[in-house]
Amino acid sequence: MITLLLILTPLVAGLIAFSLKQGSSAKTFALLASVATLAIALVAVFTPGTIGYDAAWLNSLGSRISLKADGMGKMLSLLTAVSFPIIFTAVYNNEYKNASSFYALMLLSQAGLMGVFLASDALLFYFFWELALIPVYFLCSIWGGEKRIAVTFKFFVYTFIGSLIMLIGLLFMYLNTADQSFSLESFYAVKLTAKQELVMFWLFFIAFAIKMPIFPFHTWQPDAYEQSPTATTMVMSGIMVKMGVFAVIRWLLPMFPNAAAQSANLVIILSIIGMIYASLIAIRQDDIKRMIAYSSIAHIGLMSAAMFTNNQTAMDGVMIQMFSHGVNVIGLWIIADLIEKQLGTRNMSELGGLAQKAPVMAILLVIMALANVALPLTNAFIGEFLMFNGLFQYNMIMAAIAGISIILAAVYTLNMVQKVIYGELNATTEKATEIPFNIQFTLVIIVVLILVFGLYPQPLLNLTGDSVSALFVKK
């Protein structure tokens, strides 16, 4: 029941929000709804064991409304539930035309995301997978930047093709289940020949790889992040990319363990190429948003490489990093949005000296930047350390090459910090002021999360431990 509420609350709230009058009522309503969802998510997290919900849906097809929250599901619904109040608080001062539709679509996308993380029925999973996409498509196309229509459409076509290819895979698996059912267990139990398994693996993997995104499927991402309204970018990079990572762990690896092992080398090499390539491009970026976008590709690349090492430690790292990266990147977007709103530019070359004008922001930004570099004491360190550990055990040379990305991350992140908050004030940055209270509040929450989980990650590890061990017991 709790799991059902996690989806229904944002869904119903979203539908109600459409009918609200324009003005501030919509944003207050959305904020309250997201806080309510957070409360439910906290209840779910503190309920021990796997919780679930099951009801009849399409009997003739063998598909049920079946939800299941194990450790990983709980962790990601918590991430989703934490992110939305933060996002809504951070953009509280922004004025959107048609505000009620904007917040309604945001809430609907939250419902879709929750559904993806909780569904344990393949057809239901596919439904939510699309439900998360459609609102984001409208959000970006209506409220985005000037090139929004073409860019968002590219994003949409990419992911839609991916979904359709996955649909073929779903159909094939479904028709091969023993009991003609879409349930997760039946899908796990399907026996395929080695060749079939390999074909199915790639059908699913391409869909997930586009979503993450992994090199060479990433080309939609920087443009989409740059052009979307920042609130949506936060959803996309903080949570939506985790859909791909999550789907690999929940669906792909248990369904096709042999094909995954067989293709691991190729996937890891692609991921590492993506990491290095994205890091190098990030160094050359002048636009803060684009820099964060590329840095995000690099981080996801590491997660995707670690997932395929077939190593329990690395998988623990992926779990922690999914949460950490989600929180950290939202923090960075908030700062980027703030700078753009205040100063009208996102180009680092035009900024400088903000530490003098906004010392609080400077301190918070430095901490988040250090987390982006994965320095010890920040939450990202734990995740990256565990993932590199697993990668090292898998293949030393690959780990060494991937390790370069840590150095590159330091280069582009610290370069950004230096250009934005240190140096001399110039004509543009003269008019900067200290950040407003609501944004200080959200950033402080993020920084607290960074430090707490950086010092004591055990609760997260305990939470997702059952999912990880289940994955490895199966094999």
Partner: protein, 464 residues
């Protein structure tokens, strides 16, 4: 039998309505009542409450699926008249005649859902087609409409000739017009012919070509864009949905019994037609400037998907074609109803519709999402069943992959309309829109979403 008899009688009744009254809304109202009567009669037949019994010497055979399909077709026509009746009224002074012709088309579809022999198939196709030639040309003072009508008539008659030729060859080979005997090959053993005779294969191929023409499958689709574009929009909507669905039903019925005669050639032939149809429809639709023409090509593309039911020839395929009919008819009729309210049929003509007419834009979006096959809409399950039936029948995976890639292409041109409505600025001119019309549209959208979440509603009704 009820549907055939009632539709013929009601067609005549509609013709006489024109004598007694000139008030067009009255005529439309009569037509709506007549459709309700027809639907009731057909439903009574399907539930076995009341049916007229005539010994047709097994020329017609009524079964559950055929009767159910009749109900779908009549229901779709009812929705069509409710939404677009006012547009029919705008086409000259012959409103009653147009409705009469629609009823004759329904008579043809009722024969096509129950035929049990080549003769009745031929009669059904002709009763269906001839009123359509007239309806296409009903905008008398419009040159494009005349051209479309003539083109349709000439090409349609030519195809009828091919079809008759095919039937004649089959008759020559088997000595009967019956369906079953065609399928089993009734040649006497003394003839010494092993397997299907040459005449039989040739006859079936000719029939195949003729049926491909009727459902606008490539490479026999060239008439479709011109006719759909030239015909008055209101009748394009009718032709593209109701008539096409009936054609598919007849097509599938014919070849599910006889395809085995062609052996493995059949699958090769059909895969070629499917891929060609998807290719021709989707790729050409991408380049259209007029939304009406885009819809004409997209209807070819949708036909490609419907052909999967013919390929798979199993239960899932049958359920799929029923669901596809519902999904496709609802979405297309709904979208055409909106299109007719907008003055400018180009993509730019839709710019900014969301701000001036939010309800219309919303319903149009739902219809387009359904046509593109996005989950939560009826169109998703329609496509889903089609793909599932082919995978289940052991069809080649490459064909399924090609199909979904083309589905992605179709999203491109459907979304172009959504982009115009929501993301671009403009002041589209629309004709007057009544509250009742909006209400009807919202019901259509609700229907699409309902079937999209619970497709079992339609299927349970079928398996009552």
């Amino acid at each position: 039998m009820n549907a055939i008899i009632f539709s013929a009688i009601l067609g005549v009744v509609m013709m006489f309505t024109g004598i007694f009254t000139n008030k067009k809304p009255v005529i439309t109202l009569t037509a709506i009542i007549a459709l309700v009567v027809l639907l009731t009669a057909n439903l009574m037949n399907s539930y076995g409450i009341f049916s007229i019994q005539i010994d047709t010497k097994e020329l017609l055979h009524f079964n559950k699926i055929g009767l159910f399909f009749n109900s779908l077709i009549i229901g779709a026509t009812l929705i069509f008249v409710l939404l677009s009746g006012s547009e029919i009224e705008k086409l000259g002074n012959k409103t009653a005649d147009y409705y009469a012709l629609i009823f004759f088309v329904l008579c043809g579809t009722a024969i096509l859902t129950s035929y049990n022999g080549m003769l009745m198939l031929f009669l059904g196709i002709e009763i269906l087609s001839i009123p359509l030639y007239i309806l296409t040309g009903s905008d008398k003072h419009n040159l494009k409409s005349n051209e479309a009508s003539l083109k349709y008539f000439l090409m349609g008659s030519f195809t009828t000739g091919i079809m008759l030729m095919g039937i004649a060859l089959l008759y020559g080979a088997t000595g009967t017009f019956g369906m079953a005997s065609v399928g089993t090959g009734a040649l006497p053993p003394s003839s010494g012919v092993q397997g299907p005779a040459f005449l039989q294969v040739a006859g079936l191929l000719l029939l195949f070509a003729a049926m491909c023409f009727k459902v606008s499958a490539a490479p026999f689709h060239f008439w479709t864009p011109d006719v759909y574009d030239g015909a008055p929009s209101v009748f394009t909507s009718f032709m593209a949905t109701i008539v096409k669905a009936a054609g598919f039903f007849a097509f599938i019925k014919l070849f599910s019994a006889n395809a085995n005669l062609l052996g493995p050639t059949w699958n090769i032939l059909l895969s070629f037609v499917i891929v060609a149809t998807l290719l021709a429809g989707n790729i050409t639709a991408v380049f259209q400037r007029s939304i009406k023409r885009m819809l004409a090509y997209s209807s070819i593309a949708q036909a490609g998907f419907m052909l999967f039911a013919l390929y798979s020839n199993n239960d899932l395929g049958t359920e799929g074609i029923l669901l596809y009919t519902v999904a496709y008819c609802l979405a297309t009729i709904g979208f055409f109803a909106i299109l007719m309210k907008v003055k400018d049929y180009t993509f730019d003509g839709f710019n900014g519709l969301a701000s001036t007419q939010p309800v219309l834009a919303f319903v149009a979006t739902i219809c387009l999402l359904s046509l593109a096959g996005i989950p939560l809409t009826a169109g998703f399950f329609a496509k889903y069943y089609m793909l599932a039936s082919v995978v289940k029948a052991g069809g080649p995976l490459w064909m399924v992959i090609v199909a979904v890639l083309f589905a992605a292409v179709s999203a491109y041109y459907y979304f172009k309309v959504i982009q115009a409505m929501y993301f671009k600025e403009g002041q589209p001119e629309t004709s007057e829109i009544t509250g009742g019309f909006k209400f009807g549209l919202v019901l259509v959208a609700a229907g699409i979403l309902l079937v999209g979440v619970l497709p079992s509603i339609v299927l349970n009704w079928f398996y009552f």
